[in-house]
Point group: C2
């Protein structure tokens, strides 16, 4: 058995601390390795283009709750969130491999539902499922997806290329997936107390769909290409806007000034946030799981991008020394932490 | 929650049945997809060469037992067994991505041990660790490894190319990993009854090493290349020789005749099998986990390959209608099932 002497809890480091810690020991042997750990996907030189590969693991009880997550939606989301990582490198996803580990609680019909969702996502995005593994677990469901894609060498986009003065943009709207999760968790709590209870999801279709069935913004990569804008940095928003801004800030060695009144939210999501007593800006900054794109472009591209309806300019990059701040609607300057921002 | 109506147990189909079942629903969208599910690795056209990708999931309690598996060895094995899948396509592994899911039972030091083993394997095989994911699990340790590699287009080797008359070969020796597992399980049972007991592993170094720290036969791929032999089919022996012969038979539409007296076993492993009351041939045919290569070559290559010490000719391919058989030492013909072969 492994030794527990000199035990340090993983929680002391956190996920990103752990990754940083392990990354220090990694040596590179292959000249084809362009980018390893630390971006949305690894980048490998494949001759006339770059190959992109990303992998993610989803664990029952940590990443999803089968009480309110249909297995078909879960399968769809598992594929889409991985495609989103390839999109975040300005690339095109082409292939996936999916591994699942299941306890004997799951029937063949359950596994079929899961794969039906995975294959629906593959068909929607024109991606081929080319491999995987199925194993039995002692407890619960674990899904691991690896996504493979490609990008023209001159188009690849890292987290590290943002410069002070660049514009900061996000696609679509933010916060809805978080509010959807909030509703689902609320209905679950009521259901557990009163099993005869029928969930009240009326009027919450949009925010629940954002949580259960997100999409990858392949249209934004196409748009940027069509209007001739090469982002200086990009990543997808899985953990929350604030957290992702800190990743780009760290890797690009910049700071950011973000304007609260520019943050995009869907009108229904805004109303639900108010109903639920959640600050809409908190939902947008801390929520995560919308799988929208956060990216920066040179100020020179302002004219090209300003009229595009699918993206919103939310601020600009500043010198690293200035740090990360949010300018509130009341025009106050608040420090933006990786955990986000609280009105109080 | 998913429906249990019309419930079919996964165990009715088995792992391979489940994969076959799911594979039927897969559609191909990308012209670059050369080979999807069903071989040791997927094959993707990357322009002037083929890219190979394979993924595997290892689950505590199913694939490994931390009572007797040092985490460093486990990390090493997780990488090597995936490299072996690329090798089995006659390719060269260049990159890996590793995801782990851990419960809070694991300390930072434990995770470091695991990654130390993974990185030791990466360094030994000149492979770059370029990505992954770390998540928390409700129970136990789950490891998912994706291996990426490449092969010249004319060198790729599938399970499907064997023809009647071809010679059947294996690299190295078989059965030792299975016997090593047997010893480890025996010592564990004694240890659980008598915690003051010191494991007696004396004289079992080789077979235990074969179980805990297997290697991928990159030397065989090099050898075949050097002597100018292109295998007609190849796979690595992870589940057992009999099982793998059935995979090749099915995909190549052939049968096999295998000779018991040709099966290669290490002399120490042979003696341990006798000591343990295990038929050595059963260990070789059913054991698995040696990660040796099983491959077939054209009879025309006999002169080139017959003197190579690292490989053994164990039989030949026959027409599919003849089925799979083992010719015993007593010259009796036994049907060879996927589960292997029993003396009795």
């Amino acid at each position: 058995m492994f030794e527990n002497s000199g035990r340090t809890e993983i929680s002391h480091l956190g996920e990103f601390g752990l990754i940083d810690h392990i990354s220090k020991s990694i040596k590179t042997h292959q000249t084809s390795t362009i980018k390893g750990v630390g971006d949305d996907a690894a980048v490998i030189d494949a001759g006339d283009k770059f190959v992109l590969i990303s992998t993610d693991m989803m664990v029952e009880g940590t990443h999803f709750d089968l009480t309110y997550t249909p297995l078909m939606h879960l399968g769809y989301k598992a594929i889409v969130t991985n495609i989103s990582d390839i999109v975040a490198m300005n690339g095109k996803a082409t292939h996936v491999l999916t591994s699942i580990s299941i306890s004997n609680r799951f029937s063949l019909e359950a596994v079929e539902e899961l794969y039906k969702g995975m294959l629906a996502a593959c068909n929607a995005y024109g991606v081929d499922l080319v491999g995987g593994d199925t194993t039995s677990s002692q407890k619960g469901l674990i899904i691991s997806v690896t996504c493979y894609g490609e990008v023209a060498k001159e188009k690849v986009c890292y987290r590290s290329g943002c410069k002070p003065g660049d514009l900061v943009l996000v696609s679509g709207d933010l916060g809805a997936a978080y509010l959807g999760l909030h509703i689902l968790e609320r209905e679950k709590r009521i259901f557990l107390e009163r099993p005869d209870f029928k969930p009240d999801l009326e009027g919450n279709d949009y925010i629940i769909q954002r949580q259960l069935k997100p999409e990858a913004r392949i249209d934004i990569v196409k748009l940027l290409n069509d209007i001739g804008v090469q982002p200086t940095s990009m990543m997808d928003i899985s953990d929350g806007l604030s957290s992702e801004l800190h990743h780009i800030a760290k890797q690009s060695q910049v700071g950011f000034t973000i304007y609260e009144d520019k943050l995009p939210i869907d009108p229904i999501a805004y109303q639900r946030a108010i109903d639920l007593g959640i600050d809409p800006s908190t939902a947008m900054l801390n929520g995560g799981e919308d799988y929208e794109l956060l990216f920066t472009v040179s100020m020179n591209d302002y004219e090209k991008i300003k009229k595009e309806m699918e993206v919103t300019i939310i601020g600009h990059a500043v010198d690293a020394g200035e740090g990360l701040h949010l300018i509130s609607k009341a025009n106050n300057k608040h420090k933006l932490s990786a955990q986000g921002w609280n009105h109080l």
